[in-house]
């Protein structure tokens, strides 16, 4: 049942979902790229930050 036809008055509203999806994919690819580009030794230093309390 369609009861929200009034939105059709905005021209090209159907583009919204597609634009959002594309945006997310691009974003996701970028993040994944970042993730792999981090140096291994850095990672192991950062991931140990919570453990190293060094209260002297």
């Amino acid at each position: 049942m369609k009861f929200s036809t009034y939105l059709e008055k905005i021209s090209g509203v159907s583009i919204y979902p597609i634009v959002s999806l594309v945006m997310f994919i691009v974003f996701f690819v970028l993040v994944t790229y970042w993730m792999y580009s981090i140096d291994k030794t850095e990672i192991s230093r950062i991931e140990n930050l919570p453990l190293d309390d060094n209260n002297k």
Partner: protein
């Protein structure tokens, strides 16, 4: 290299922890009371304490659990973890204290004002405008303290937990401000700036993201800090946590409309909500697995350490509710779950399991540390663990059951095409489930009391370490990143950039979702027969909001045969253009009221509000005797009409000065009719008259249209 010597402050974490546990117990106790009220309406004590009726108590429960229990839990973790992750004390102790006492003051104001009936009528954002402003101020104080700490840090890298805190802070600020646009009518009374469909969209964009950025992302920050700490090993995959973070904050913000499926919300917005909700499974499960895999090979530890046990169940519940959530945003599943106890079960898997158990685990780990001792009794903690788990199960299972029972009853037709069951039949069927749920909640609460005992004993046994000494080298000005570390480690060294990026990422989602709806304003097909409320109806509507009727009643009929047959024609977007705030509701403990106008005579409502069981034997609705005593607040009519017109409701200019004449006339008409036709004597200035006027108006405008 010179090492700086400095001290971590443990006082504020301790304060926040105490507040967290105290408000947690209070909030859960209120939940248990509210749960029993639904099964035994006499517990509303309406004659003695009209302030404690379900409609007013439930918002206090939800607000207490979300903002007082979880809120203080977040701050406990943040004030403990951030200094240690950044090797610096919190920037300002003074701001920290203002934050702490300010937040507790807000909580007290919230509880008192909600019980007094001051509410905006928007779920999880019920607090009135002066408190909204206070929240903003305290939030800013917290933000300043957190960012100043981050900027003066001695550790270049920001551990992922801190990103979660930063993103949560900025997004909550954004949500709070956008959703709280309201126009004050008087001290402690305001109207939402938005109306109808727009108000609903903004509200659920807010509501959903309050779950996301208050109940989830900060707690993920806690998970990424305290889980490795308790297990004494780094997180399973730090790389995965990066993807978890960015995809989660990107996706979450879009999913709000899944609370409004099948409503009068535009269809594209509904689909968008569904699509993004489904995608949310991926990062959520990435996060859950990351948490659980951190314990790989350490399961023998889990068996012994209650802290880890609590964490494992918490993270599992996180996984369960983030799987269930997307399922609930599939339209056909949502058709069953929406307005039903399923939603209630869903949020409690999250609240009791994820937030509750993570908090308990954190406390069992933290309190012994703060008091430099061992936990008083591991055995009691294990008992708490089992009792808590049992409580969750006993809570959730009856709710799922009740949801399906009522769904099948609601949609059952006789062969002749009549509805097989009255609404009251459904109410009667689910009462036993309500009782079981209340027992489940009670059991969970007993577990909390066991924890309190255990922690108090622990604290007594040890001695409080107010300050912990630490040493670290200051950051040097010139830093050269390793040549092969690009991009991300760059961002991650720049907290402000991280803040801005988070804001941009959530901002995109917010904009794409909200802006079209505002552009649409002119496009909502105005239904010519839909007119502003009369002054009396407006006053009645405000009483409806004050009493929290929306906690049990929806005003939104979905386009299903079984709803249209039961309640009447399905709701249209154009019908709500003057509803500041919207009152669509989210739970049908009572029937939908979107077409209640004209369904019964005035006398029916008069008797029903006084004693619901007199008209509907077996009803669990509270009675409202106070409405027959209180007088309509005529003094506010003027400013209410004025405020409404400011927001575009077409009252003629100057109408506010004569509005009370119309109000009196309409009220007298109702009182006279009651006296003449039903021999009911009531003076026309009582609140009951206003609420009858409002109820008789709801959903009737559109009938005029079809008569033409």
């Amino acid at each position: 290299m010179n090492l700086d010597k400095f001290y971590y402050d443990n006082k504020l974490p301790k304060f926040f922890a105490i507040a967290c546990i105290f408000w947690g117990a209070v909030g859960m106790l209120l939940g248990v009371i509210a749960a029993f009220q639904l099964a035994f309406p006499v517990l509303n004590f309406s004659e003695y304490f009209p302030n404690l009726a379900f409609g007013r108590l439930r918002p206090v429960h939800t607000n207490a659990v979300i903002f007082a229990f979880v809120g203080n839990g977040i701050f406990t973790g943040i004030y403990y973890a951030i200094p240690r992750l950044l090797k610096t004390p919190m920037w300002s102790n003074k701001l920290g204290n203002i934050h702490f006492w300010g937040w507790q003051f807000i909580i007290v104001c919230a509880a008192v004002s909600l019980l007094m009936g001051f509410t905006t009528g928007k779920e999880y954002a019920e607090l009135e405008w002066p408190i909204d402003i206070l929240i903003t101020l305290v939030w800013v104080v917290f933000g300043i303290n957190m960012f100043a700490t981050i900027i003066t840090r001695r550790e270049r890298h920001l551990y992922v937990a801190i990103w979660f805190f930063i993103a949560s802070w900025v997004t909550v600020a954004l949500l709070h401000i956008v959703n709280s646009f309201e126009i004050p009518v008087s001290f402690m009374k305001s109207y939402s700036w938005y109306a109808g469909v727009q108000d609903a969209l903004v509200q659920w964009w807010y509501g959903h993201n309050a779950v996301a950025f208050f109940l989830t992302t900060p707690y993920l920050g806690l998970m990424y800090y305290f889980l490795p700490k308790a297990a004494n090993r780094p997180v399973y995959s730090y790389r995965l946590s990066i993807v978890h973070f960015w995809s989660l904050i990107f996706l979450y913000i879009w999913a709000g409309p899944h609370h409004l499926l099948y409503t009068a919300l535009p269809e594209w917005a509904q689909s968008l909500g569904t699509a993004f909700s489904i995608m949310l499974i991926l990062p959520s499960w990435g996060g859950m697995l990351n948490g659980l895999f951190t314990l790989r090979g350490a399961w023998d530890k889990v068996r012994e350490d209650p802290v880890l046990k609590f964490f494992v169940v918490a993270v599992t519940c996180y996984g369960m509710s983030t799987f269930e959530g997307p399922m609930l945003s599939l339209k056909n599943v949502n058709a069953i779950s929406h307005y039903s106890d399923w939603t209630v079960a869903h949020v409690h898997i999250g609240a009791l399991g994820w937030n509750g158990f993570l908090t308990f685990g954190m406390m069992y780990w933290l309190i012994p540390k703060l008091f430099n001792t061992k936990l008083y009794s591991t055995k009691l903690a294990a008992t708490h663990f089992w009792i808590g788990t049992l409580g969750i199960l006993l809570y959730a299972i009856p709710m799922y059951w009740s949801a399906f029972r009522s769904y099948f009853m609601m949609k059952a037709f006789t062969p002749e095409g009549q509805l097989q069951y009255q609404f009251i039949d459904v109410v009667q069927t689910v009462i036993p489930f309500y009782i079981m749920r209340a027992i489940g909640g009670t059991i969970f609460l007993i577990g909390v009391f066991i924890m309190i005992y255990n922690l108090v004993k622990t604290a007594k046994k040890g001695s409080f370490v107010a300050k912990e000494e630490a040493e670290a080298a200051p950051l040097t000005k010139e830093y050269r990143a390793p040549s092969n570390s690009i991009w991300h480690s760059f961002i991650e060294r720049k907290p402000i950039l991280l803040l801005v990026l988070s804001l941009v990422v959530v901002g995109i989602g917010g904009l794409v979702e909200l802006v079209p709806t505002f552009l649409v304003k002119e496009n909502i097909p105005s239904i010519a027969s839909v007119k502003p409320y009369t002054p009396l109806e407006l006053q009645g509507r405000d009483i409806y909001i004050r009493e929290g009727c929306y906690n049990c009643h929806s005003q939104m009929i979905r386009p299903f045969r079984y709803e249209v047959t039961r309640y009447g024609e399905y709701s249209k977007a154009g019908e709500f253009v003057y509803d500041h705030p919207f009152q669509w509701g989210s739970k049908r403990t009572g029937p939908d009221l979107a077409r209640i106008g004209g369904k019964y005579g005035d006398a029916w409502h008069f008797n029903h509000m006084l004693e619901p069981t007199s008209m509907a034997p077996g009803s669990i609705m509270p009675s409202y005797p106070s409405l027959y005593e209180n007088e309509i607040d005529r003094g506010s009519t003027n400013s209410k009409i004025h405020a409404m017109r400011k927001m575009g409701v077409p009252y003629e200019s100057g109408y506010e000065s004569i509005a009370n004449d119309d109000l009196d006339k309409q009220a007298k008409g109702i009182a006279d009719r009651l006296a003449k036709d039903n021999n009911i004597k009531v003076s026309s200035n009582k609140e009951i008259i206003a609420i009858i006027a409002y109820l008789q108006r709801i959903g009737t405008d559109i009938k005029l249209e079809s008569k033409k």
